[in-house]
């Protein structure tokens, strides 16, 4: 009886194979190649192992400054996504069927648009003489034209819009797992709205919030289209610098070293976060 329910040991391997194969080809192999490139010298001593690329990244505060800005912005973006996304997800989980479908549609719709197109939309809104500037002017709040283009605030606004769906959808998944009776029980036992949220809904949606925020953080730390279009060249982020090294300066070794450092730094932040949140009621 138990034998027939337990899948054969080969079956999972069989099912995993295509995914693993793809991961191997499209992720592990290029990552290893990048790792190799980052420690191999070019030029007169081509082929020799070297740490010069890493030394360059650490030797001056220009790249440290870029890294600091990148992490700072990613943390802010993730925090704002959590602040906006959690209440939104709660509202969506409690809404009627029709309203919920509509809200999901509104949230998901931007994902169907190319990130470049969406970002250009922000250029029109945030730019000098754009909608934002015009509105503030019309309301008499400002005299001159104001622009959030080429500012860190602009990057955060545009990135939150781009990444919010990832947090809302994963959190909504978690919220839908919570039996309605638990919240009802809390209310019956005298918990107010906020207390119910704090002690029942929030802890039980931690898995969704955790994976959602990790997703948002990882995407924002590695994104370069939106930061480079909205932030401009004077506010470089790490991914943009890597892109510039690879395609503009053709310094692949240094670009590879920056990539490896970004990967390590991201893992150093994400792994403890995952461990911590899984202890807080997640899986």
């Amino acid at each position: 009886m138990t034998q027939s329910l337990r899948p054969g040991s080969r079956e999972p391997a069989f099912l995993l194979a295509p995914g693993l194969f793809f991961l191997l080809i499209a992720f592990f192999f290029p990552t290893l190649q990048l790792l190799a490139q980052s420690v191999i010298a070019v030029g007169s001593e081509a082929g020799r192992l070297t740490l010069e690329h890493y030394a360059k990244a650490f030797s001056d505060d220009f790249y440290a400054g870029i890294a600091f800005r990148t992490f700072k912005l990613s943390i802010i973006i993730t925090a704002i996504c959590l602040l906006i996304g959690f209440p939104l997800a709660v509202a969506m989980s409690r809404a009627g069927r029709g309203v919920r479908t509509l809200l999901i549609l509104i949230i998901v719709l931007p994902l169907m648009t190319s990130v470049v197109i969406r970002t250009f939309g922000w250029l029109v809104i945030l730019g000098p003489g754009g909608v934002l500037s015009w509105t503030l002017n019309a309301l008499g709040l400002i005299d001159n034209s104001v622009s959030l283009m080429h500012t860190e605030t602009g990057i955060v606004i545009a990135m939150v819009q781009v990444l919010l769906p990832f947090l809302v959808l994963t959190t909504l998944g978690s919220l839908n797992q919570i039996p309605k009776s638990l919240e009802e029980a809390a209310r019956v036992m005298g918990a107010g709205f906020f207390r119910g949220i704090r002690h029942v809904t929030l802890p039980m949606s931690v898995p969704g919030l955790a994976s959602g925020s990790v997703l948002v953080f990882a995407l924002s730390i590695s994104s370069f289209i939106t930061p480079s279009l909205v932030g401009g060249v004077r506010l470089p982020v790490v991914a943009g610098s890597i892109y510039q090294q690879m395609t503009g300066s053709f310094d692949w070794g240094f670009g590879a070293a920056l990539s490896v450092l970004l990967l390590i730094a991201t893992l150093v932040l994400i792994v403890p976060y995952m461990v911590l949140t899984s202890r807080m009621g997640g899986r």
Partner: protein, 346 residues
């Protein structure tokens, strides 16, 4: 009936195979072009007339300069291209790597009609410049009360807060404009500090953009009044309905040549040379000026006044154009990119 038709079409297919290696087959030349409206114009001015004149087929692969160079490198032992077009100076890198072949003056019937700069490097594998972009100053004719006359006008208080600077690290036109500011500020290709200082002085009252659509957007929204950029782009903006004009500053505009090059090891060298010769003939050079406002490199071109006013026209004006040593640019590019990024980063 259906059967007969299919037998018939099979016979046609077979016949075409049989002839494809025979004397009836058209020769095919493989070239690159840059896509979009550029490629459209390219077909109209050069490619289609060439096919008709010589009864050959020209296969066009859409590839920008950097992609074309990467493909040439990858195909070094068995080149698939016969002719390659470059903008942004990459022909110098390609020639230095032996990917392009030298051309003799007597191999081009139009050689004598060309400005010297346009054919200066053909013996080293750098193909003729069949037209050129010119980098100078674009300004908004409604907002800028007095038109700029000098590169130094970028720091003129009249334009403060409305100056656009193009990123030199990611944009070739931006780099050429920067090198000119550097020269005017007293620098040279061996010392870009004066240029960096000049730009640093502009930064507080200017916007740095990296792509041409951003220039259009800033001009359209009234934020940009003056920008160092290409003359042909001024025409693009005018066509979009913006009040924009181009001036060649008194210190000179910068040449940004577009070249047509002979690929080393091409199996159709003779036909490729005919194509290159056809590309630099006066009629084509004139067409580029009329359609997209690229400056003609063929001296015998005669332009109508309205077109002539929007390109650099005539030997006297052309003589003022400045050329920067592309080999030095290539050698210093990485270091300059880094210095530039540091100078402009907030």
């Amino acid at each position: 009936m259906k059967k007969i038709k299919s037998i018939g079409s099979a016979a046609i297919v077979l016949a075409s195979f049989a002839f494809s290696n025979g004397a009836f087959a058209q020769e095919t030349l493989v070239i690159n072009s840059f896509g979009g409206s550029y490629e459209e114009t390219h077909r109209k001015l050069v490619i289609t007339p060439f096919e008709e004149k010589y009864n050959v087929k020209v296969e066009v692969v859409t590839a920008y300069s950097a992609d074309a160079l990467a493909q040439l490198r990858a195909q070094k032992d068995n080149p698939q291209f016969d002719v390659v077009h470059f903008s942004g100076g990459l022909e110098h890198a390609a020639a230095a790597e032996g990917l392009l072949d030298a051309i003799k003056a007597e191999e081009l019937s139009n050689y004598g009609q060309m400005y010297d700069f346009a054919v200066a490097g053909i013996d080293k594998g750098i193909g003729p410049t069949y037209s050129t972009a010119v980098i100078g100053l674009l300004y908004n004719t409604e907002k800028a009360a007095t038109p700029p006359t000098s590169w130094k006008d970028l720091s003129n208080e009249a334009y403060a807060n409305h100056v656009l600077i193009t990123d030199a690290a990611s944009n070739t036109y931006g780099l050429l404009g920067f090198l000119m500011m550097n020269q005017v500020a007293g620098g040279s290709l061996d010392n870009i500090e004066p240029g960096l200082d000049f730009v640093k002085g502009l930064l507080p009252t200017s916007t740095v953009v990296s792509k041409s659509p951003e220039i259009q957007q800033n001009f359209a929204q009234g934020n940009g009044w003056i920008a160092p950029y290409a003359q042909d782009y001024a025409h693009t903006l005018t066509k979009a309905g913006l009040p924009v004009k181009f001036v060649q500053p008194e210190e000179g505009g910068v040449l940004a040549p577009i070249t047509v090059n002979l690929v080393a090891g091409s199996k159709k060298r003779d036909l490729a040379l005919k194509f290159i010769d056809f590309s630099i003939r006066a009629e084509a050079s004139k067409g580029w000026a009329e359609a997209l406002r690229y400056t003609p490199t063929n001296k015998s071109v005669e332009l109508a006044d309205d077109v002539a006013a929007e390109v650099v026209y005539g030997e006297e004006a052309v003589a003022k154009l400045v050329t920067f040593d592309a080999n030095k640019i290539a050698a210093n590019r990485a270091a300059w990119n880094e210095a530039w990024a540091r100078a402009i980063a907030k």
